[in-house]
Amino acid sequence: MSHAPAAPKPHGLVAEFLGPGALIEAAKKTRAAGYKKIDAYSPFPVHGLAEAVEFEDPRLQWLIFIGGVVGALVGLGLQAWVSVVDYPVNVGGKPMLSLPAFVPVLFECTVLAASFAAVFGMLGLNGLPRPHHPVFSVPGFDRASQDRFFLVVEAVDPQYDSHETADFLQSLGAESVHEVEDEE
């Protein structure tokens, strides 16, 4: 970042709505108006909201899948190496490389690695932990975890215009519209 005292860059416009239905309606209309960089905040998971903001990010599911595959291979490899190479023990005359016996541990390793990939991948892709976010400066934004619903149009959207977009959000029936600034 440059040290010049540049004018603060806007992060985006935050519109407040009273209910989940209003939020979904607004999100759909905002998408329909051509905005692409939008985000939504709600106190509880709202069915259909991810579809309404057209949130699409297949990265996490692939991360989980890769995590599962890696877990399976590591679990299988560990057992095979231990029972065939490192510490072979003859159990009931069974072959050293006895796949059925490996399945339970293989399964557990798959689940463990896949869940680690899910939790830490989710945190990583969301940029969490993150103690502060520009939208927190909206007055009353703490109610996003209680009873209010927020739609954000980010300034990086090519169609973004402080005045026009604010008017547009206002026309969707927003309770209030605030522009928030990006912070260093």
Partner: protein, 391 residues
């Protein structure tokens, strides 16, 4: 208010004449085969009976589950599984040919001559004897029939009266009913299917079967709903959330099936004791080995990987193909479990086996559709399904 005529699925009516025709032709042909060669015909009929019994009991156990959980996926399939559960007495009637003509052929322990020469069976005869077997049979079918009838009445009544106390009443019956069913079906499956090989035993066998029943019925109902997803009334309720639920239901049963299959195999394989491992020796004779491997791949690995994908669970046409696949593999799996006890040289391709399967199946499907003729295929008392789209 939703009118009742919108809730019908006339497309299902086509199953009635087709099913009855297949039933008559199939069972007629099978009867001819029975005259020629009694033993293999009876064995083929037994396989057909087991598969469609599994469908019936699968419907029944999902009814119990749906009334206990009161979930939206349960509502979507409720009328379909109720219709299947109504066929419990029909399956008892369809058991008669085996009881009357083939008791000794299918169940060696019922033959005094066999028991006289077999020390193990003599000890088991306290439990495995024909009269006690029949008492249990009548008792189990009677109790299940009664429960299914009461639950169906109460849920039909709620459609008419909109009385929400009835939902609680059904839960009060269904929740302990699951426990009752779990205990009785364990004895039932042991009696009717496991005892075809009376020396062998496995405590997870009935669980394995019930999970398979759930899988078969989940795929069967998912197939009906997704196949008709553009028709009324399903076009109003099929959305990504419902198809994801149905897909996850099949996914869960697929994993549970693999879990129980492996549990049984692993323990027997590890112990490698002569009184236990006969099952897997029988079931890997000749072509049965390849057939078993195929079932593992086709009923676990393929659906497991495909049902992981969110897309398969979102697009009804893809989920429909997945459900059809699982259903067909279920037939092969039941064949693989039931038949090796009778034909020890590998899978056989007998026209009487096919005729019996088509006959019993045709009859089952016809009666299944008959139960729904002119009736709503979705319950109207709970509007969550309709609202899910607009929430």
């Amino acid at each position: 208010m939703i009118s009742n005529s919108d809730m019908r699925l006339p497309a299902l009516d086509k199953l009635i004449p087709i099913g009855f025709l297949l039933g008559i032709v199939g069972l007629g042909a099978w009867a001819l085969g029975l005259q020629q060669d009694k033993l293999p015909a009876l064995q083929g009929y037994f396989f057909a009976w087991v598969f469609w019994l599994c469908m019936t009991l699968g419907c029944f156990v999902l009814v119990l589950l749906a009334h206990t959980l009161r979930s939206t996926w349960g509502l979507a399939i409720l009328r379909l599984i109720e219709s299947g559960a109504k066929l419990i007495p029909v399956m008892l009637l369809l058991y008669l040919p085996i009881l009357l003509m083939g008791m000794h052929d299918i169940y060696p322990w019922s033959n005094p001559a066999v028991v006289a020469a077999d020390k193990v069976l003599q000890h088991k005869s306290v439990y495995l004897n024909t009269s006690f077997f029949l008492v249990r049979l009548i008792l189990f079918f009677g109790c299940w029939w009664l429960m299914a009838t009461v639950l169906n009445k109460l849920s039909q009544k709620q459609d008419a009266t909109q009385d929400w106390d009835l939902a609680q009443k059904r839960t009060n019956i269904a929740a302990p009913g699951i426990l009752f069913f779990a205990i009785t079906v364990t004895f039932g499956i042991t009696d009717w299917i496991m005892s075809t090989d009376p020396h062998w035993f496995s405590t997870i066998y009935a669980v394995w079967f019930v999970v398979g029943q759930g899988l078969a019925v989940a795929s069967f109902t998912t197939f009906i709903i997704t196949l008709n997803c553009t028709r009324k009334p399903y076009c109003d309720i099929v959305n990504p959330k419902l198809t994801r639920d149905l897909g996850n239901l099949m996914f869960m049963f697929t994993m549970l099936w693999a879990y129980t299959s492996l549990s049984q195999y692993l323990i027997i394989w590890y112990g490698n004791l002569p009184e236990e491992n006969t099952f897997y020796l029988n079931h890997t004779n000749g072509g049965f080995s390849a057939m078993g491997a195929f079932v593992v791949i086709a009923q676990f690995f393929i659906p497991f990987v495909l049902l992981l994908s969110p897309k398969v669970k979102r697009v009804p046409a893809m989920l429909c193909k997945m459900a059809a696949w699982i259903f067909v593999i279920r037939i092969i799996d039941v064949y693989w479990v039931v038949m090796p006890t009778f034909c020890t040289h590998g899978p056989r391709f007998l026209w009487t086996d096919a005729a019996a399967f088509v006959g019993v199946g045709g009859l089952w499907l016809a009666l299944f559709a008959w139960n729904l003729k002119g009736k709503a295929v979705l319950p109207t008392f709970d509007t969550r399904l309709m609202e899910a789209d607009h929430a």
